[in-house]
Every structure is written in structure tokens, then in C-alpha cells.
Amino acid sequence: MTHLGYLMAGWGISLVVLGGYAFRLVRRGRSLSALVPEDRRRWLESSGTDSD
């Protein structure tokens, strides 16, 4: 296969960045969930109670 190094770099960087971003989102979601009472955590359940 030609250009294998380029391909590995491109696909590798993309997957690592997307995976890292997803991981950070999940972790941040977990730590924030601990701060919020259960009934306010999701949009559907807490709609109307926010500041609008």
C-alpha cells in the first residue's frame, strides 16, 4: 500500500482527537451530574424550570 504513513497519521489523529473529545464530554457530564439534582439533569424533565 502506498502512502501508508500519511494514511495512518490522518486516520490516527482523527480517531484519537474524536475519541479524546468524546471521553472528555462523558467525564465532564459525569462530574456535572453529581452537582445537579436528578430532576434537573435533562432538558425534557427540567424544561420550564430554567430561567426562560
Binding site: 480517531l15 468524546a22 457530564g29 456535572l32 451530574s33 436528578e38
Partner: protein, 274 residues
């Protein structure tokens, strides 16, 4: 959200977990299609019979092109949500605008990186100043980097949701101008108008590309959903922190004492603390 767990201690729900698993599986299938089932782009020159084409570098496009399309889709959604912020001023639109902008910026960075890595073997350069799409994408990245910088200047997103909406709309309005100006600037483009048309579009090549759109559609959907939930939690956490701080203050002094101190009668106090 119907299929949600009983006690969500995270941003997952049964629906989003399923979505995430399907997206991951499609990524794996996309990788197999791109690397093992499709062939390299090799063409024969009609007169000399020489081999030319992108060879195996074409496999980068199955990643690059879908990410670029989904990047534009994200920014379009961000612009639409920003209009929603200005018109309706509800938190849903603002969290949506912030989420799509952030996901779009991540994709935009990756599109630039993968494009640059692809350009090295195919165009023989990492960076081409005269290319319209390349330069437009770079400016787009910088514009939304500015947007995210603005959003990071405060922990309470409500304080600047409308400012951010204006920045997002100006950024999207600016894009046609950037595109036209760069097009006239060099009046040539390396991005063959037909990067895709020019390839020998075999059925499997086309299918892989379409599958790439589908895959990244799912990935971006999952990321945006998660980011939306995080954004929603950020707001709820601020509200809750403010609420409990007030409650704490109240409990330090007796309620009557407090009401007397700020001059509230019993009736008013009843209304004010539901």
C-alpha cells in the same frame, strides 16, 4: 427521553448508548471498507499508458470528505440556533448553538489536518495558499475559535448568549465573502472541482463514501447530543449552586430574623419562597 435510565449519573441514556454503539460499529465498518475492500485510485494515461492517480492516498478522502460535509452542517445548525437565540431567547437554542459550534470546530480542525496530510503526497505540498476551499476552511476555523474563546470568558453562559449569537451569525455571513475574495485572489484552485468525479467511481468507492457520510452523521449526532447534555448540566449546576447558596445563607439565620432584616412582611415572604 423515553429510554432513559432510572438514575442518570452521566450524560448517557439508553437511546444515546445505542446510538454511540452503532456509530462506533459504523466507524469500524468504514475503516474496513476504506482500507481493505476498496482499491487504490490508479488510472492509465490513454496515450502513454502510464499509471497515474492518487493511489492509496484516496483512502484519506473517505474520512476527510464526510468530516468536511458534517462540519458545514454543524456550522449551519449553529447559525440557525443563533437565530433562535436572538428571536426566542430560550436556553435550548443557546445550548444548541454552543454545542454545534464546538463539535463543528473540532471537525474543522480535523478537516484541515487530514486535508493537509492528504495534500502532501497528492499535491506535493502540505499547504497551498491559492486554494479556495483550504483558505476558506482555515478562516472558518479561526472565526469559530474566536466564538469559542468568547464563550470561555465566563462560566455563566447566560451572560453572553446573545453576543455569541451575533458572533456566530457574522462568522457565517462572512464565509461567502472570504470564499469569493480568495477565489479572485488566486483565481485557481488545486481542489479539482472533481476530486470525486474524477475518480473512477466504482460502485464500491461511491458506497464507501456514502457510508462515510452516514457514519459521521451518527458520530456527530452522538457528539452533539452529549455536548448538549453537558451544556444543559452546566446551566443547571449554576442554578443549583446559586439556589443552594441562598438556602444556606437562609439557614444560618432564622427565617423571621432574615425577613425582618430585609423588611419583608410575612405575606411577601410566603410568595417569595415557593
Amino acid at each position: 427521553m423515553a429510554g432513559r435510565d432510572e438514575r442518570p449519573g452521566n450524560t448517557g441514556s439508553r437511546g444515546s448508548r445505542l446510538l454511540g454503539c452503532v456509530a462506533l460499529a459504523s466507524l469500524v465498518v468504514l475503516g474496513v471498507l476504506a482500507f481493505f475492500l476498496t482499491g487504490p485510485d490508479v488510472r492509465l494515461h490513454p496515450t502513454t499508458g502510464e499509471e497515474f492517480g492518487q493511489f492509496d492516498a484516496v483512502r484519506m478522502l473517505y474520512l476527510h470528505v464526510p468530516m468536511a460535509v458534517l462540519m458545514y452542517a454543524s456550522f449551519m445548525l449553529c447559525a440557525a440556533a443563533s437565530v433562535g437565540v436572538l428571536v426566542k431567547r430560550t436556553p435550548w437554542w443557546d445550548v444548541m448553538a454552543h454545542s454545534t459550534a464546538e463539535v463543528g470546530t473540532v471537525l474543522c480542525g480535523l478537516v484541515l489536518v487530514t486535508g493537509s496530510i492528504w495534500g502532501r503526497p497528492v499535491w506535493n505540498t502540505w499547504w497551498e495558499w491559492g486554494d479556495v476551499r483550504l483558505m476558506t476552511t482555515l478562516v472558518l476555523f479561526l472565526l469559530f475559535a474566536g466564538y469559542l474563546a468568547l464563550r470561555r470568558t465566563t462560566t455563566d453562559p447566560r451572560r453572553q448568549e446573545r453576543k455569541a449569537a451575533v458572533v456566530a451569525l457574522v462568522a457565517v455571513l462572512d464565509i461567502p465573502l472570504v470564499n469569493r475574495s480568495v477565489a479572485w485572489w488566486e483565481n485557481r484552485t488545486l481542489h479539482q472541482r472533481s476530486t470525486l468525479e474524477e475518480l473512477k467511481i466504482q460502485d464500491l468507492t461511491l458506497f464507501t463514501l456514502m457510508f462515510g457520510f452516514l457514519t459521521f452523521g451518527l458520530v456527530v449526532w452522538w457528539l452533539t447530543l452529549q455536548r448538549f447534555r453537558v451544556g444543559w448540566l452546566e446551566r443547571a449546576a449554576i442554578d443549583h449552586a446559586v439556589g443552594s447558596a441562598i438556602a444556606e445563607r437562609r439557614s444560618e439565620t432564622s427565617a423571621d430574623e432574615l425577613d425582618a432584616a430585609i423588611g419583608v412582611t410575612d405575606e411577601q415572604a410566603g410568595e417569595a419562597s415557593p
